[in-house]
Symmetry: C2
Subunit: 300 residues, 2 copies
């Protein structure tokens, strides 16, 4: 029976994942559990116990959780640490439990006062990336529903910005007139490159160019593959326009799923930016491991 030294938990909005750990080694991966969206604050401990039911848990086993477990509507509000800051501090937020086998600690998020911004979960991926690349100086981009652009210097998050690119794409593709033109499958590289260049060079025209996707379909029978690539190009172009201070003249590390980071890598390469691509799922576990190491240090 698996007997973990500690347990790593990534608690998202729609699902949760847990790993039985021995140091940095994964002993076992638990079955997936419910996300924050489906749980009240007193539902997290029972949900976790169901996920790790097959393991032999010694009393006081450390559980390190990141993500929405620490949201105001989560297990316990772990707050936000203010940037500039290292992505992790040694001070995690302890959570009282009914089951004495679990010593739960949650990783706080990061916040920025001006312009106002927040992250929760990404700080752990960033910590994982910096554990592997401690001397990295540049920008980290984590594309997604809420893309994050993060300026890293001397191991600290100096500043960051969130762009709702993924949510904008989904909202327009499903809940606007563009739903008639955009499809889940299909792509056209040239249309993507054109739309990206337009959006980056004339970002003030975004509002008008979005409707042109519909007009091109009506007037010129442009197909769904081109329309989908055009919408993606316009929105990623708008994101890159807003994030220009982050990537201009700096190396960029892209963290995320392969399909999505490919489009960003193409877009950034067109601007002459040097890009490193990394998968996000392994970085979360590396970041949780770094958090566990910080916790298990003796106070000096």
């Amino acid at each position: 029976m698996t007997r973990p030294d500690w347990i790593a938990v990534d608690w998202g909005t729609t699902n949760a994942r847990a790993w039985a750990m021995a140091g940095a080694e994964v002993l076992d991966t638990a079955p997936g559990g419910p996300g924050m969206g489906g749980l009240a604050s007193d539902g997290f401990e029972p949900a976790l116990l169901r996920m790790i039911d097959g393991w032999d848990i010694a009393p006081g086993t450390p559980v390190i959780a990141c993500g929405m477990a620490g949201a105001a509507q989560g297990w316990r509000d772990a707050g936000y640490r203010k940037v500039p800051a290292t992505p992790l501090s040694d001070t995690l937020v302890p959570v009282p439990t009914n089951d004495a086998r679990l010593a739960v600690h949650i990783v706080p998020g990061l916040k920025q006062t001006n312009p106002a911004d927040v992250m929760r979960g990404e700080e752990t991926q960033i910590a994982g990336f910096l554990a592997l690349n401690p001397d990295f100086d540049g920008a980290i981009c984590l594309p997604g529903s809420h893309s994050k652009w993060v300026q890293i210097s001397a191991g600290e998050v100096v500043s960051f910005r969130t762009m709702m690119t993924g949510e904008l794409f989904a909202a327009l593709a499903h809940h606007s007139v563009l739903r008639h033109s955009v499809a889940p499958e299909g792509w056209d590289d040239d249309t993507f490159a054109d739309a990206l260049s337009q959006s980056l060079s004339r970002p003030e025209q975004l509002a008008a160019r979005l409707f042109s996707i519909r007009a091109e379909a009506l007037l010129n029978n442009r197909g769904t593959a081109e329309s989908t690539a055009a919408l993606s190009g316009l929105l990623i172009g708008a994101e890159l326009a807003a994030a220009k201070p982050y990537w201009l003249g700096l190396p960029v590390a892209l963290i995320g799923a392969a399909g999505l980071t490919q489009h960003y890598a193409t877009a950034l390469a067109m601007q002459g930016v040097q890009v490193i691509r990394t998968r996000g799922d392994t970085l979360t576990l590396q970041g949780l491991t770094a958090a566990w190491r910080g916790l298990s240090k003796e106070p000096s």
Copy 2:
């Protein structure tokens, strides 16, 4: 029993309206009918007959329809006339009917080749505005789900652009993380003005500023009235940034519902633009009357 000289019909996506007319005078308003979205092409004639059931219709009575009746998925595809063009031509598109009492004609839309754009229905409102203001030179703005900006010179539509501002607002307010921050009621003038100025002066920052609405709510407890005004200000600012060639240094006529045109009037006044506000519903009928007058002219 009402006996119209002709019948005016405004056929939208979600509903239809019809009026019994004698020249420019409204004799009666029919009960509302189903929009294009709920009808197959052979359903339009029966739907119209149900709406005007209470009237005494002479054989060959002209019926002038604008809007989605002329869409590809409408009663009959009335096509688009290419700009530059007057908003209406004398050539309407005749539609064969089973009922010999109806002589149906549909107003075509307008199209622009580069950048690709289309309108259908707004051309009739524009014609109504120009019937009242034949010497107007400047821009017409019709705010809405798909806001239209139209350059008018010498009685012609020279060029136009569509911005999906209303649809973007609805999609973000209902289908993004901003749904937690934005509410149907509540408004704050100062927040609107700030967001508008930001969006107009730094349009490339739109993608980042949208998420700040969420972050301000989380970090600074900003309320739904301010968040709603901020979202509106950012999106109307983005629209004005894209439409700048239309309004810079020119008078602007705003056509639409009072609540919506008020925000645009405020925004444009902040830029020093002279604005005329007009209600859209009466203009549609004036435009249909102009179309009927063109139809009833003898060929010279």
